[in-house]
Subunit: 412 residues, 2 copies
């Protein structure tokens, strides 16, 4: 049945279903999609604000809620949404049926609050699509083989949608949110930021992990792995959004696809680390054990017998990290630990870098001309990131957005 | 394991878990029960107000939500409660685990919004009790063999508790609410109404169906069927509540156990009904098909060729009922349909009536002396009900409570 009709998976986030009026809007959109000749699977998040309210309630009862009970609690949010959306669709005179993660067989491992999807039973969905044409599935949640309710962590509903699209071999997965798509950079910083029509998974992955908050990396990785065309659009209009697919000759050839800014990291430097094999491993083993996410790591050996190691981590984890790192610094006989919260990480991303050299030069030159000092540099095949003074972050974005020709008018 | 330790099922209603402070109170009570050497199964309702809020939200989306989706929606309320109560118990340093109706295997038939419990799988609960000592179960909800989420209708959480107590062969089922127990009559009407220490299922059934709102009839019927001792007490104190059991020689012998008042009924009279066989059947078939609940039915044939048939129904259904009844009245060539909303039904209940005559006389005499006119009379083996003017309802309760010696001081 998948191929006679189109099969589309749509996902609507919390801000798109935050109240009755918004839910009705989503219902109309879903029905419209169906009437265009598609079967539609809709994944919804909890009503905007619900999850925060539940977390606050839990916080009034205990400082350390167990993960299992948090999952039990938070999974209710999406269950409310699916029932309400079904009602709104019925009210339009259309058929639809709602399912929880459990009912639709979204099997996960038992890692509460950050479970991984292991398997999806598509039989029930195909059957329900045949009868109803529209199936509504609770995002963010799954069930373990022992019938324990789990949740998928941040970006969980996107992940549900992409995983369903992959399992159902659907034509595409449409993620609706409150922005028009993926932009060349944050439009709040650069006025003439341009919406990107198409972008490849790799570029999107770099942008997602670099602070473009539209989609979470895990979902893009899964879309990439199963080659699910992802579409990101605005739930409030029918304008053209951004299509995320495999790299494609037809894709507009650009050197740089986008510029990202992350102002939420902090830098830690361990000064005077004895330059012996195994020391770096020891440091980062300790950090990993403390579950601190490290982003950039820079070590630059100078001529002395010691070296300095710098790395960035999320600001929220700084306090905890400093405690752990001071301990390990003492053990390895490093001379000091310095932290800097006033940093911004600026990154340019584009598959064009693979075949075109000179991007790094253009970037460094542009920043130099703007008198912006570079503190750390890190590169990948399709990305260059620099750590700079946080006070210069936004102006650096403007400079680079301009230098790489990403602005609206220049491109059209 | 059931018998070495005590096994108690407790149920806390929405008003007992309406916010964090109330949930903490319930947690302390449950832990106290456990520390007395019991395994405890706790059934909780949705946080007070939650269900109304969800129903209101649904009402904003559609006038006629489907029952299946209402169940999907409302079942979330209890799931929130069980997670929060588990957290509060953990915060006291005790073990506990929460389960939804599905997880604990509360199988129901597929009658959404008023499902009947078909089977309960006790294995998982026994196992969890062995590990945790406290098991928290979502009230009001179940699952069909097809994995559809159902709810049990009004009084559903009480029913869950009683059914679990029966299935687990627990020592007793304790229902905690915001009143101290079952009273001889409504203490808001009669100041010296007395709390009843023990009452039998049959009396409680009559009182429950007569408007004493503490417990719903279905739960009492199930408790009666499986001989589960039921205890009703106040979640805010440790005072002695009311124990509901089988009729027992040791039970205090009284003529009348309690007086109930129902001010929410309306009376409909079909005037001039042709006195032929089958006419009454035709009327009540129509009413049943329209799903109107009829309470008292009175037909008194006089000397003419026609008769009048009166019956009472809930006031809320009056509008709908009148429409249906006017239609049927026309068809059977009755002369008129009269309604009266200004009625009260007053009832006295007691197993003592079985062996003692004269209760009816005492009742009629007392009302006559108080100049209260009786409009309709209906009796069962252990109950006498009269319909009177609603303006006289409360004073009739006072008169009868006094005549049958139910007051506090007179009994002690």
């Amino acid at each position: 049945m998948a191929k006679k009709k189109g099969l589309i998976v749509q996902k609507y986030g919390g801000s798109s279903v935050k109240d009755a009026a918004h839910i009705k809007n989503v219902a109309r959109r879903v029905v419209k999609k169906k009437k265009l000749g598609n079967n539609v699977v809709v994944v919804v998040s909890a009503l905007g604000g619900t999850t925060d309210a539940l977390v606050a309630l839990a916080g009034q009862l205990t400082k350390n809620p167990r993960d299992r009970e948090m999952d039990m609690l938070l999974a209710t949010g999406e269950q409310v949404s699916i029932a309400l959306l079904a009602m709104a669709i019925h009210d339009l005179g259309e058929e639809a049926v709602s399912f929880t993660g459990y009912q639709v067989g979204i099997q996960t491992d038992p890692s509460h609050t950050q479970a991984r999807i292991m398997d999806i039973d598509t039989k029930k969905m195909y059957k329900a699509l045949k009868v109803h044409g529209i199936v509504i599935v609770a995002g963010f949640q799954g069930i373990t083989p022992d019938n324990e309710i789990t949740t998928l962590g941040r970006g969980g509903s996107d992940l549900t949608a992409v995983a369903l699209a992959a399992a159902l071999k659907s034509d595409r997965c449409e993620i609706f949110t409150d922005v028009d798509g993926i932009f060349t950079t944050d439009p709040r910083i650069v006025k003439d930021a341009r919406k990107i029509d198409s972008i490849c998974y790799e570029e999107m992955l770099e942008l997602a992990s670099l602070g473009a908050k539209v989609m979470h990396s895990r979902s893009i990785e899964v879309a990439d792995k199963y080659n699910v065309p992802l579409y990101v659009g605005n739930s409030k209009n029918y304008g053209k959004g951004t299509l995320i697919t495999r790299e494609d000759k037809g894709m507009e050839q650009v050197l740089v696809r986008g510029v990202a800014l992350n102002e939420n990291e902090a830098k830690i430097t361990i000064v005077g680390v004895p330059d012996k094999p195994g020391v770096a491993a020891r440091i980062f083993k300790t950090i990993a054990e403390a579950k601190i996410n490290v982003d950039m790591i820079i070590q630059n050996k100078t001529t002395t017998k010691t070296t300095d190691i710098s790395f960035t981590i999320p600001q929220t984890g700084l306090k905890k990290a400093v405690k752990v790192i001071k301990d390990v610094a003492k053990k390895i006989k490093a001379s000091d630990v310095i932290t800097d919260e006033k940093i911004a990480k600026i990154s340019v991303v584009g598959v064009g870098m693979r075949s075109h050299s000179g991007v790094a030069y253009m970037l460094f030159d542009a920043l130099a001309k703007a008198k912006i000092n570079i503190d750390m540099i890190s590169t990948s095949e399709i990305k260059i990131s620099c750590v700079i003074d946080i006070a210069k972050g936004k102006s650096a974005v403007k400079v680079l957005h301009n230098v790489f020709g990403l602005a609206k008018k220049k491109k059209k």
